[in-house]
Structure formats: C-alpha cells, structure tokens
Symmetry: C2
Amino acid sequence: MPESQLPPVKGVRLASVPARIKDWQRDDLLLVEIAEGASVSATFTQNTFCAAPVVVAREHIHSGEIRALLVNAGNANAATGARGLSDTRACCEAVAQVMQIRSEQVLPFSTGVIGEHLPLQRLLDGIPKAARQLSDDGWDQAAKAIMTTDTRAKTASRTLQIAGEEITIVGIAKGSGMIQPNMATMLAYVATDATVAQPLLNAMVKEAVSASFNRVSVDGDTSTNDACVLIATGTADCEIKSRSDQGYAELMAAITQLHIELAQAVVKDGEGATKFVTVQVEGALSSEEALRVAFEVGESPLVKTALYASDPNWGRLVMAIGNAIPENLDTEKVDIYLDRVKVVEAGGRAADYREEQGEQVFTQPEFTIRIALGRGDCCEHIWTCDFSHEYVTINAEYRT
Amino acid sequence: MPESQLPPVKGVRLASVPARIKDWQRDDLLLVEIAEGASVSATFTQNTFCAAPVVVAREHIHSGEIRALLVNAGNANAATGARGLSDTRACCEAVAQVMQIRSEQVLPFSTGVIGEHLPLQRLLDGIPKAARQLSDDGWDQAAKAIMTTDTRAKTASRTLQIAGEEITIVGIAKGSGMIQPNMATMLAYVATDATVAQPLLNAMVKEAVSASFNRVSVDGDTSTNDACVLIATGTADCEIKSRSDQGYAELMAAITQLHIELAQAVVKDGEGATKFVTVQVEGALSSEEALRVAFEVGESPLVKTALYASDPNWGRLVMAIGNAIPENLDTEKVDIYLDRVKVVEAGGRAADYREEQGEQVFTQPEFTIRIALGRGDCCEHIWTCDFSHEYVTINAEYRT
C-alpha cells in the first residue's frame, strides 16, 4: 500500500523526533507550530481523573492565542500528581522558549501508560531538535509519531471550494479503538486553512466530535487523556464568522465528514476487532433515547461476543434494548433488521426469518444492525466492533 | 464433595421432573407448592423487554395469595409475543387444575434461550407428573433442575431461634453470573417458616436483594427473566408484623446473609471466572456515589481483564473512578488499597508501593480492592469477577 500523502495546510508546520519516551526506536514526540492569528478549539476527556496535560491544556486554551502543540506517545502523564503538572508546565516552557512565544500559547498532550512520571529530560532534549525540523509536509510522519498500540496511522484530508478559494482540511488521529483505551488516549488533530472566527470554531469542534468520536463504542472506559483539536489557520482567503456566512455549511460538512472518517478508522483499528458494525436506531422519542439504545446494544459484551462469533443472536439485541428503555417501551412495536434482513418483527422473531439469513449478514466484515422502535421520529447511529479473544489477550497482557 | 442437604421448610413442597424442554436428559421443570396462608414477595427484572412469565408473575403476585411456583429451564419464553403470554397462562392454568387452586395463585418462571417458543405440550405433560411427586425435601433436586450453564447448584440455609422457636431459612439460586446472562436469567427462591406479614415481607425482599443480588457485577446486561422470590410460610410459631417485633432484626439479618451467600455463589460460578473480587468504596458523599464508583470499577472490561491477568494495573482503577465521578472529584484525596497494600496515595502511586506487592494480591483467587475517596462518610461494596478468554469462548459459542 502506498504511503498516504497528506497535503500541507498553510499556517501549520510539524516535526516528529525520537525522544525515547519509552525504550523504543521510533518518533514519539511531535511538535506543531501554528501561525499567528489562527483560531484553535479543542474538546477534552470528561474523566475527572484527567491527566496533567489535559489540566494544563484546558487552562491554556482559554488564555488566548494558541501557537504550538506538543504531543508525546509512550507515557500518559496521568495520576502523577503535582510532579506531573510541573513536568507538563516545564515542557510548555521549553517549547515557548525555543519558539519565542508564551508558554500559555502551548497545548500539551500525552498518551501512554498511566501512573508513571514523564522522562522529563528526554522531552526537554527533544523539543529544540523538533523545532529545527518544522516543515509543512510533516503530517504523515506526525500521524505515526502519536501512535501507541495502533496498527496503522489514521489520516484524512479534504479539499473544497469556498467562493472560488480552495480550502484544505487535514486530520490525524490515534487510538486503537476507544474500545480499549489501555494506552489511555484517543487524540485527534484537524487543521484547515479557512478563516473561522474563534467562537464559531468552538461550536464546530463540538458538533464535529459529537457526530464522530462521541459515536464510537467504548467500554464505558473514557480515557484520562482524550482530546480533539481543530485548527483554522486563516491563511486561505475565506472568512467565516457566522453560520449564515457563505461556505459555512460546506466547510462544516467537510470537517464533520473528516472527523467521521478518523473516528471510523479508530474503531476499525480496534485491537482484536474483526468486525465493523453500524448500530442504527430509528423511531425513538428523542435523539438521546436513540443514542442510549444504540450504545446499550453496541457496548454490550454479550452482543459484541455474538458479533465476534458471527452468531445473529437477536435475543441479546432485544435484551439490550429493554435495558436501554426501562419504562413504557411497547415491545410489540419493535422491529430489527440485520442489513436488509428483518429478524425481529413486532417484538418477536420475524415470520419469514431464517437463521441462515442472519448468519450471512453477520459473517460480513461490515454490516448494519437497524432497530426500529416505533415510538417516535428520532434516529441516531453509532459505530462499534466486536469483542474477541484477541481483545482479552491484548488487555490482559498489556504492561507485561 | 458430599451433596448439600437442605432442610425442609414446613409449608413448602417441591418436585422436579425431566420435561425435555431442550434436547437433554435431566430435570428441567420445577413445581413448588406453598401452604395456604403463606406470605410471598418477589422482585423482577427491570428490563422492559421482559419475558412472558415475568409479565404474568407480576400480575399474579398482586392478585392475592400465591400457592405455587412453576419454573422451567432451557427456554426463557422471552420476546415471544402474544403466543408466549398465552403459553405461560396455559401452564399456570394446568398447575391450577392439578393443584385445585386459581391460576392467579401460580407464579411462572422461565430461563433459557430468548426468542423461541416454549414446547408447551411437554410442560403440560410434566406438570401433573411433578404434582404427584411433591415432597418437602425436594430443595437440593430443585436447585439442580433450574440450572442452565451453571457448573454447580447454588444452595444456602440458616436456622435461628426467635422467642424459643427454631426458624429455618432455605434458598436456592441459578445463574452462572449476572456477568453472562446469556441463558437470560438469574433466579432465586428463598423460603422460611417464620410468619411474616405480607407488607413487611415485601420490604424485606427488596432490602435483601439490594444487599445481595443487586451488588454483583453485571455487564450492564440485565436479563429479561431475572426474579427473586421470598416465601414466609408461617408454619413456625413466630409472628412478625412490623420491624419492632421480636425477632425481626435477627430474621432480616439471616435472610440478608443467605441472599448474600447465594449472590456470591452466582459470581463465583461465573462462566470463565477465575477470580472473586470485592470492590469496596468508602469516603463517598452518598451511598449512591459509592455504588456508582464500585460498579464502574467492577464492570470495566479493562479492570476485569487486568484481574484475569493478575496485573495490578492501578491506572485502570483511577480511570474507572474518574469516569464514575464526572465532577468535582479532588483526585489528590484518593487512596487505593489492594487488600492491605496501599497502591495509590493522594491520587498517585504510593511512595512505598512495589509492583511485586500488588502482584502478590492479584494472584490470589479472592481479594478486595478498597477505594478511599476522601470526600464523605458513605461506603458500599460489590462483588465481581474477572473477564477471561473462557468468557469470550462461552459467549461466542453459545447456541452453536
């Protein structure tokens, strides 16, 4: 397979270097320089036991113009107390010095093992080396530098025309599935050269993440370090200040699609995953209810092991639906389809359904479980994967 | 190992027969006769996709004096629509005829595969056979007849003195762990010969279940058929009408302990389980918060795979805690102990902690994870087990 070739985004330069964060030979430190005047927005993990870099990044993002990102793989700097915070601040300070900016203009990110202190000196040694190598075609190398247990780099790009101007969007992500955040992090960085006003960009990153990374199946195990950053460098001649501005809808759609592509890549690369499954719920009373049903189905270990076994065990699907809606569900209005095969009709086995039909769908590498609740007009979907022997092996043997 | 010998409870007679609910040679139909004048209370699954027998049992328990229980293993009669309901009602009617009671006085229960219709005629044939064999020493046989994937029968008994009268409590349960309710049910039946007023008994079963079966780790997968029944036959000379009556405290304590013993047996027999772990949370703002933390830890697949691997990966514990308390947790007040070994102090690795100490605890078949949140006075605990290759095998290969 040829290497992907991500185009540059004017206003963003990147450099990846080997800093030996762990005992390995590979790039593990990424420095990103963002041009003056760019807008930068981010979302972070909801986990209160969040890592030191998340604490510091949350402070810095509110303090004004962000000019640099620093990412290390191999160590999460989570559950590391006061020393973890001071290590992160020292890294930001080192970036600030070498790039002649303020340390509040640096967003730090870490991914790796929880509970161990950063090898601070190695990071401090790596930062000036990285600063000397900054280049606007460093995206592909960057996607590799932030990997942990990922088996492949996750990249995506789009171009679109807004008022005759060509706009570029580039994104990279890491995470071998939120399904096994044992390396404690899903990270994503997306940049465009469009000019987007900061308040609007803040809303856009939330919407894009809600439609993408927040719809992949997790174990209920939100990591301590998750973060997603959206950068609009403003180097292209296209200024978007509000949702009614020309090009907003196209840009938002392209950014969302790119986020979805990255999120799906994370699920597909889930450790041990052998199936990529869309769970689509329709006829719900609210979007929230539809998502609750979709996640209950998509996160159920019993459903996930059935996916792994290519066993269309629809009894586990109805069980999960019944758990998601604890009150007033009229089960006789519930239909379930596996791709186009109707397996459940009016809450029971569909009259024409034959087991072989379900098996045929479930043996495919990708398919859709569609649940029609018959109680409202709202629909939602999430993406999940199966739960395999390999998952247990990887998560039981991690650290050894 | 010698067979357990459960004592009779005067006022309860049981009979188990082979009814070939599935293609197997074993008892799979249990009939229980309850003497006139007994109080009977029950709790049922919260799953709205509940099975036909749960719907009917809920109706019947409110309609007056319960005189019989009918339990079949091998088929859950869940997601079976109108025919499922009429099958269940036909079984109750058959019990009523043979025992000369009203069908509303029969509580039906089923456990097994979801989505297949009961082999009704086989149940109808089995009921009169069972009725002819009713005996007050049928408890041990009953515990076996209700098993599905259980590897051993779950039984418990207690005797105590109340005002000079000897009171007996006997209980049986099935479920190879709520952790894999693939057979779709945890069932428990407990009987005492004490005389307990119906309203008080209703409260007692709720309290006992709350302290026992509701504290074992589940996958989030509440089954469609779960039920727990508490019977007080009133044949012993000891009448308890209110909490202030003599003997209430002793009886409640004994009943609760017996429920806990059965619930722990269910966890220990969890398919694939190799460890039995108590998760104890203290210093919480509320009982609810303590339970939320305990379940988040005890149900996390990442924690469960670490238990399986005997890997004291405390980073996964802090991650789960941070997920359970999304706001205002002062992580620097959190301590974690593995049995007596302090592994986390003030939110980070305890200064004196050595990895070998944690490994020593985690290699034991039973141990306690104790989490001190340092923010309040409430404490709670749950029981969980590990997540093994065998779990995936069993749940991936079930039905094949």
